[in-house]
Symmetry: C2
């Protein structure tokens, strides 16, 4: 499947391809449709996760929350247990397994949360002529743990995970302005410039993703990252959780044009 | 206390005045600080209320959710059981009492939700030269039940309650544009024009508030209203709930400038 075909897939067609065995990234799929980070937790922890999301909207921007036990919603008209290319299964905060479907692990008390994903704002930046260096070089955006605290909620706490993109100085204001209009997909950056001020000691060694692709003069710009909920699971150790594997997202029926504000 | 004094009260000073016995409206108090609709429900219903809010962000825009049992938060640094001028107490959806403090009714399992309030966008509209007819005539904005459905969540369902303001035709686009920048205080209107299309059969007879104040040629413009959570309580009959009395709001420590997007 070439990239043009990937881009033109409807969400339903994309989910069918995934059910049929696609297990790789969904980057570049279904142009104009929001992709989402997945985290499912038991009903007993779901209120705390909603509180955590409400208090940390940049790291955990809620696109949708399913009814307890539900595998679909009006905003994701597929099957959340089969229609994500790869899943990570956590028990007491330990990553115990990565697999391509979780139908047999699903429980009636699991609540699926979908959080906005950077793919949406990357598209808006690219359209405005701000190049995504990592995409052009075929690598994954670098992600870092920071010392920026998230506000705790019930059993959940975490520091913030950020992604970093190099932006030419004269485009930094545009990058901030454009992303600010998409609060549902992490919104404006959280930090511009010196990485050490947010606890990132070596830009070359991200915790997730690939080494950064920077051009001469680029300013490092940091966005709150949808990996934060998984860092939160690792730190807070809920009994059970299911997440997507990085880059392998849930493709929703939410049109990105609905997400733009005002 | 004159209106200039009311306007210049800090949130802390305003809450002290209320603790000291003010029981009337907070309209015009603490210029620049967000006022909030209150609804507290037992922990057992709190997840469903968060889901309902997530699914109906125009009617239930979440400003803050306290920890279970907590009477304060970083965004409301007072005592939610004494610092609202008047409260309404509901049992199984019945309004059983209106009173000026609820300290002795508070329970360790109650979760306080604060929702954005139209006072904030009214200030923005007034600053832009769009007159608030009801304020100038000293009346309360009219509020109506509609046939617009809210999306249900768990035990909660409701139709949407709206408030109505008359706006001259040439200012309707400005009213929409300005309010759209404040999604945390109901955001853009939900309907412009013919009231019968949303089930409002007699504009002169609102369910809450006073009769409308319209000038020749005014277009009726309808906003989702923070009374919706109370309509939801009446319809869904949770075991227990505490709300503010209309117009007698919780004055928060959230500066309105934080609420504007992008």
């Amino acid at each position: 499947m070439d990239s043009k075909t990937q881009r033109s897939l409807t969400p339903g067609e994309a989910r069918q391809k995934i059910r049929d065995g696609h297990t790789d990234t969904t980057s570049g799929w279904s142009d104009g449709w929001a992709q989402a980070n997945l985290l499912a937790v038991p009903r007993a922890q779901a209120f705390d996760l909603m509180l955590f999301s409400q208090r940390n909207p940049k790291a955990c921007p809620l696109l949708d929350v399913f009814d307890p036990g539900a595998k679909r919603s009006s905003r994701f008209q597929g099957d959340i247990t089969t229609d994500v290319p790869a899943y990570r299964v956590y028990e007491h905060g330990e990553l115990v397994e990565e697999r391509t479907d979780v139908a047999d692990l699903w429980r009636d008390d699991l609540v699926a949360f979908l959080f906005g994903c950077s793919f949406s704002f990357e598209r808006a930046l690219t359209e405005a002529g701000i190049e995504m260096r990592h995409t052009l070089s075929g690598s994954t955006v670098p992600m870092y743990r920071t010392t920026l605290p998230c506000e705790s909620a019930g059993v959940f706490s975490s520091s913030m995970v950020v992604s970093m993109r190099g932006v030419p100085p004269h485009r930094v204001p545009d990058a901030v302005r454009i992303c600010a209009r998409y609060p549902a997909v992490h919104g404006a950056p959280v930090h511009v410039g010196d990485p050490s001020l947010i606890g990132v000691t070596d830009l070359e060694k991200p915790e997730w993703g690939d080494s950064p692709v920077l051009q001469e003069g680029d300013v490092p710009v940091f966005w709150a990252c949808g990996v934060t909920p998984q860092a939160m699971v690792i730190e807070s150790r809920p009994e059970f959780a299911i997440a997507h594997a990085p880059g392998r997202m849930a493709i929703t029926d939410i049109n990105e044009s609905e997400l733009i504000t005002p």
